[in-house]
């Protein structure tokens, strides 16, 4: 204590002295003059958001939204967990210039504002205290991000909303029709092979020791909608949540799937649970898709909650797998 007190005082004094001054460049350059006029977008909250010009400096806090922004040719200035994004979503890689603004569940407000963005895109219901807070400083556009009752329409709305925000509506329309064309083409290819209506199970899984939890993508999940769009049929009928369309089960629960034509499509950007954890399991070995060896792993980095580019990437792989 005797030594501690002077030490604390000295340290404090030193800190205070060294901390004088300012960090602000008061002549901070304002964003360059608007090339086009002001835009007003109505976001997922139903709120009209006014921008002086289409946004050039965008921060996107959920991976799906970051992908949409980047795919429109506007590299975001900031995104949450950029390293994680580049592992899980390879459809549209983020460049090294994209600043990491922290984890997806608690992005740093300092970092977001420090990027001096024109707009921040936030997914609904995630980080709700963030929206009103950031809105005091910079316009916030809220997206719906997932809705298991109408995921494709939702995706179109989100994508068009983002496109309008960054002034790339023509590009968005182009990509959406590209996506539609891809899906139609895929559907045709599937039909051509006589594989229309092929039943499928889509899932990912986690393994810890011998403990396996399996997450089936039920009807209404984005990837399920994608597979159905190319003419397949989701056989998972278990309970799923209303936002993402995800269920949860164990290996025994998969015995609900009895159709011998069923195909398993699974996603694993890191640990490959289906081949490492379950291969020796007696129940797993009797599952129809294991018996018929109709198992397809989506490439690492196929983000199952992404934008049109991810849809195209996923649809391509599914079609290739079914028609091979």
């Amino acid at each position: 204590m005797r030594l501690l007190t002077p030490a604390v005082l000295v340290a404090t004094a030193a800190l205070l002295l060294s901390a004088c001054g300012t960090t602000e460049n008061t002549a901070a350059a304002p964003s360059e003059a608007a090339a086009t006029g002001p835009v007003t977008v109505t976001d997922a909250r139903g709120k009209a958001v006014n921008l002086k010009a289409p946004a050039k400096r965008v921060v996107a806090l959920e991976w799906g939204e970051a992908e949409m922004v980047a795919s429109l040719g506007v590299m975001p200035v900031g995104a949450a967990d950029v390293a994680g994004y580049n592992v899980w979503d390879k459809a549209v890689p983020l460049t090294a210039e994209v600043k990491d603004v922290g984890k997806r569940n608690e992005p740093s407000v300092d970092a977001i504002v420090g990027l001096n963005p024109d707009v921040v895109i936030i997914a609904e219901e995630r980080d709700s205290p963030l929206v009103p807070q950031i809105e005091k400083y910079v316009p916030v556009v809220v997206t719906k991000t997932s809705d298991a009752s109408r995921n494709f329409d939702r995706l179109r709305e989100d994508f068009k909303l983002i496109a309008k925000t960054v002034g790339k509506e023509a590009e968005a329309d182009k990509q959406l029709s590209e996506m539609d064309a891809k899906l139609a083409e895929g559907k045709k290819a599937v039909e051509g092979k006589g594989a229309a209506g092929t039943p499928f199970l889509m899932a990912d899984a986690y393994l810890e020791g011998s403990t396996v939890s399996i997450r089936p993508f039920g009807k209404g999940s984005l990837v399920s909608d994608t597979a159905e769009a190319v003419g397949l049929k989701n056989v998972w009928t278990g309970q799923v949540d209303p936002q993402w369309g995800l269920g949860q089960t164990d290996v025994e629960g998969l015995t609900a799937i009895t159709d011998p034509k069923t195909v398993l499509i699974y996603s694993a950007s890191e640990e490959d649970v289906f081949t490492t954890g379950l291969a020796q399991n007696a129940v797993y070995q009797r599952l129809p898709f294991v018996v018929s060896k109709k198992i397809h792993k989506l490439e690492s980095g196929t983000w199952t909650f992404g934008g049109p580019k991810s849809i195209i990437f996923t649809a391509d792989q599914i079609v290739k797998a079914i028609t091979a």
């Binding site: 984890k103 992005p107 740093s108 420090g114 963030l130 005091k136 810890e208 949860q248 609900a256 890191e270």
Partner: protein
């Protein structure tokens, strides 16, 4: 012991054991018929008698038998481990949970997963063993080798909190990599093969046999160290051997299914009820059987109530924790009052200190209270300097910086105020309960507040700040009344209060986990963040409730400092002095509860501050509450503020919730204090 006594005892042992075995057989039978596939009871019965269809056989082999065997192994391992630990520590509250062995093993396993080290199973088991053993050594070492004192549980809880915090931190930072681990962290039986069970079975068998073989030595050890030494027992060697074996059992269980809570606590307790005078050679194996009944029963009941498909989401450990908590409460209510055995709260007490020392400490605290918040405003993801702050105060900063500081101010204030509120609350609760372990977190108050808030968020996802604060307050009140009411039995026994508090705290945390995995399984990160105490996204409005509580109740408690002193002495002195003891106690506890609840609504569930700040204050200014209360308030404010600043700064732009930093920063200090005051 005469023959007349021994004979009925032997009969009783036989009857109890046989009854347990029959019960296990029945439960195992039901267990095999439960599952997410369509293979029903009839199919299973046919299969058992050799006429099963291939599908049922596969389901049995690939899912149900592994799950059953895992449950059996867990039950035996944890039941025997708990009985062994309670004997070594001579403390009925010792268990893999309260000695932090579970937490140590769990931390080791999560760390391996988080850092992407994909190891085969035996090294994972080895890591779990190392983690569990390290925790046990620290806890037992600091507790002075173990005795009946509450010190053991005190140290155990401190280490448990620290380990849990680091584990949660890893889960947060590696959200994507560890998403499967959240449910597993509460003990899951959803095993899909026999690898883990198979590899751990030999360890469990060897450890159980060795412990039972040590039975007579443990009987002698139970007589006390001195008596045991006189009787020729090598006390140290026996104790070390027993600890290593019980830790091995716990680590094996964690490796198979994660930390399945409270089986090790409740199984031996139930066994001692069934066989009150059993020796260790009976006690240990029967505890194993009771452990099996607990695990298996929890799993069977869970799946019977929720349906097997829905029950997949719910970790079995959640149920065993709630069962264990009920046992603990019942045990505490049943037990006699602890009488006069009551050590003074740990920490260097009694240095009343000179006036000079007091002035010096006050001066330092005042300076720090002025400096730390300013530093908190300056540091963060973006560093600002004093000149910026001066500009900000005078309204001359640019929009970006104004915004940064505007959103940083409520965070700094929330940390300061909640820290102070928790510390004052801890002073009141520690004094009244005369228990150094007591604090708002461990009395279940913060868990109750968290449960209230999470419940509201689950029902109304877009609930506003005031609604959440209200729900937190309501939850805290309900849980506080519950703990108080359960602890009340023609008077309030302080030991009972704390034991019931810990039980309710554990049950509350289990319920929070249950609520999250059932309602919003894919958003565990947000819940974890909220639960571990964070100033993230605070607004000035959210800080108001805690500020009001602090302004109104701190002076109230300070004015009552003489009553606090008297409560801290013993049960009789205040009564002799004519104090209206129950009324005073209820008032103090009520005020402490409100302070803790408002703190939770401001920064979430933060434990440890209410424990550490009063200890630290006592070691600085002695045992009088007139001094402790203000000093503890200042220390609590500083502690949380520093933790918050560190959490916002060190790994920016990612952030560590303040509550986790507190546990990590606070624990070493706390352990240091305990080390200096070891007997």
């Amino acid at each position: 012991m005469t023959k007349e006594v021994r004979a009925p005892q032997a009969v009783r042992t036989a009857v109890v054991s046989a009854g347990l075995v029959v019960l296990i057989a029945v439960l195992a039978g039901i267990h095999l018929t439960q599952g997410t596939s369509t293979s029903g009871p009839l199919d299973v019965v046919k299969a058992i008698f050799g006429h099963g269809d291939a599908q049922t056989l596969a389901v049995l082999e690939g899912s149900r038998v592994p799950r059953l065997l895992a449950a059996l192994l867990l039950g035996v391992a944890l039941g025997v481990a708990g009985a062994g630990m309670q004997s070594v520590a001579r403390n009925p509250l010792a268990s893999p949970d309260t000695l932090a062995v579970n937490a140590g093993a769990h931390f080791a396993v999560v760390a391996i997963s988080a850092f992407g080290l994909s190891l085969p199973l035996v090294p994972v088991g080895g890591a779990a063993f190392a983690g569990g053993l390290a925790a046990a050594v620290v806890v037992l070492g600091l507790a002075g080798g173990g005795s009946a004192s509450p010190r053991l549980v005190l140290v155990g809880s401190a280490v448990l909190l620290a380990l849990q915090s680091v584990t949660i931190l890893l889960l947060l930072l590696f959200e994507q990599e560890t998403s499967g681990l959240f449910a597993w962290g509460s003990g899951s039986l959803t095993v899909s093969d026999l690898r883990a069970t198979g590899q751990m079975t030999p360890i469990v068998v060897i450890a159980v046999v060795a412990l039972v073989a040590m039975g007579r030595k443990l009987d002698v050890l139970a007589l006390g160290d001195d008596n045991a030494t006189v009787l020729g027992l090598r006390v140290r060697r026996t104790r070390i051997g027993a600890v290593v074996l019980t830790v091995a059992l716990t680590a094996a269980a964690v490796t198979v299914a994660g930390p399945v809570g409270f089986v090790g606590l409740s199984a031996p307790v139930i066994t001692k009820l069934l066989l009150p005078i059993a020796k260790h050679r009976v006690l240990l194996p029967v505890s194993g059987l009771v452990g099996v009944v607990t695990v298996l029963g929890a799993d069977v009941v869970l799946r019977a109530i929720m349906g097997s498909a829905a029950a997949v989401r719910v970790p079995t450990g959640v149920v065993t924790t709630i069962v264990g908590a009920v046992v603990m409460v019942w045990l505490a209510r049943r037990g006699r009052g602890s009488g006069s055995r009551r050590p003074a709260p740990a920490g260097r007490v009694g240095v009343a200190g000179s006036k000079r020392r007091l002035v010096l400490i006050s001066a330092v605290l005042v300076v720090l209270l002025a400096v730390i918040p300013v530093v908190g405003l300056m540091l963060g993801d973006r560093m600002v300097l004093l000149g910026d702050l001066a500009n900000w105060v005078t309204g001359n900063t640019g929009t970006a910086l104004t915004f940064v500081l505007d959103q940083r101010l409520p965070r700094v204030l929330a940390a300061l105020l909640a820290g102070a509120a928790l510390a004052v609350s801890g002073c009141g609760i520690q004094s009244v309960s005369r228990n150094p372990l007591a604090e708002p977190g461990l009395l279940g108050i913060t868990a109750g507040a968290g449960l209230g808030a999470i419940t509201l968020i689950t029902i109304v996802p877009v609930a506003g700040a005031w609604a959440i604060a209200g729900a937190a307050g309501a939850g805290a009140t309900v849980v506080f009344l519950l703990v108080y009411g359960l602890a009340w039995r023609s008077g309030l026994d302080s030991d009972r209060l704390v034991i019931i508090g810990i039980a309710v705290w554990s049950a509350g945390m289990a319920l929070i986990t249950l609520l999250i995995v059932v309602s919003d399984p894919w958003n565990s990160a947000k819940a974890l963040t909220w639960l571990s105490g964070s100033t993230y996204g605070r607004t000035l409005e959210q800080v108001v409730p805690v500020a009001l509580a602090l302004v109104a109740l701190t002076p109230l408690l300070w004015v009552k400092h003489r009553e606090l002193d008297l409560h801290a002495l013993d049960e009789d002195t205040p009564r002799v002095l004519g104090m209206r003891i129950e009324r005073s106690r209820l008032l103090i506890l009520g005020a402490s509860g409100i302070l803790a609840a408002t703190a939770v609504s401001a920064i979430g569930v933060v434990v440890f501050v209410g424990l550490v700040a009063p200890h630290l204050a006592r070691s600085l200014v002695g045992g009088r509450h007139g001094r402790i209360v203000p000093v503890a308030a200042a220390l609590g404010a500083l502690l949380v503020s520093v933790a918050d600043t560190l959490g916002r700064t060190v790994i920016a732009p990612a952030q560590i919730p303040a509550g986790l930093v507190i546990a990590m920063v606070g624990t070493p200090y706390f352990i240091l204090v305990l080390w200096r005051t070891r007997p």
